[in-house]
Amino acid sequence: MSISVLVQHEDFSMADEYAQLSRDCRCGAVVTFCGLVRELQDHALISMTLEHYPGMTEQALQTIAEQAQQRWQLGAVRIIHRIGTLTPNEQIVFVGVASAHRAAAFEAAQFIMDYLKTQAPFWKKEHSSQGSHWVAAKTTDQQAARRWE
């Protein structure tokens, strides 16, 4: 079982990440999640800045990956979260899970995203023609995380 966690401004390559995850041929199932900067509904998003808590973010992501590893039989977990200023359609986050079984891969990837959304110290600030504002936390994210308790 390998866990690898990365917090960086630089973009990542889905192709490279997938190639790495699928290299282990005992794993028949690879699930990936990518989160992208979304357009705002009512006015144009110019950019988004991701603030983080250096040191704690890496530790939080590592802990979340380890919790997933304890719950499911996994071959590999990879988490990448970008920080700094990103523009619409840019990649923000990657979660990749390889497992012998698809149910484990799917559930672990969902678990990691649900916990990342509620426990990893990242904060988004959106910059649009209407000014800048901090993104509010969503109760749906809290609810999603709670189902794993």
Partner: protein, 85 residues
């Protein structure tokens, strides 16, 4: 000393990223909540901002409840609910 960090909207509203507290001004078995109370007493603004119910607390870079004890040398952090991913 105890180092206290603020992040995101809270950091902006307090206009402060870091505060150093002299541990000797805190009781020996002080909790994160006691640190918060001490910080709230700084001004009406700080009182207001640090009274938000949804603030999260980390001690030594791990999320923990406010009743957790703090020790000299600890790194505390207070911040709004996280919104990454």
């Amino acid at each position: 000393m105890i180092k206290v960090l603020f992040f995101a909207a809270l950091r902006e509203r307090l206009n402060t990223a870091t505060v150093e507290l002299d541990s000797s001004t805190l009781p020996a078995d002080a909790s994160a909540a006691a640190v918060l109370t001490k910080l709230q007493s700084r001004s009406a603004d700080w009182q207001h901002e640090l009274s938000r119910q949804d603030l999260l607390c980390a001690i030594n870079q791990r999320l923990c409840p406010l009743h957790t004890k703090v020790s000299p040398g600890d790194e505390l952090a207070f911040f709004p609910p996280v919104t990454g991913g």
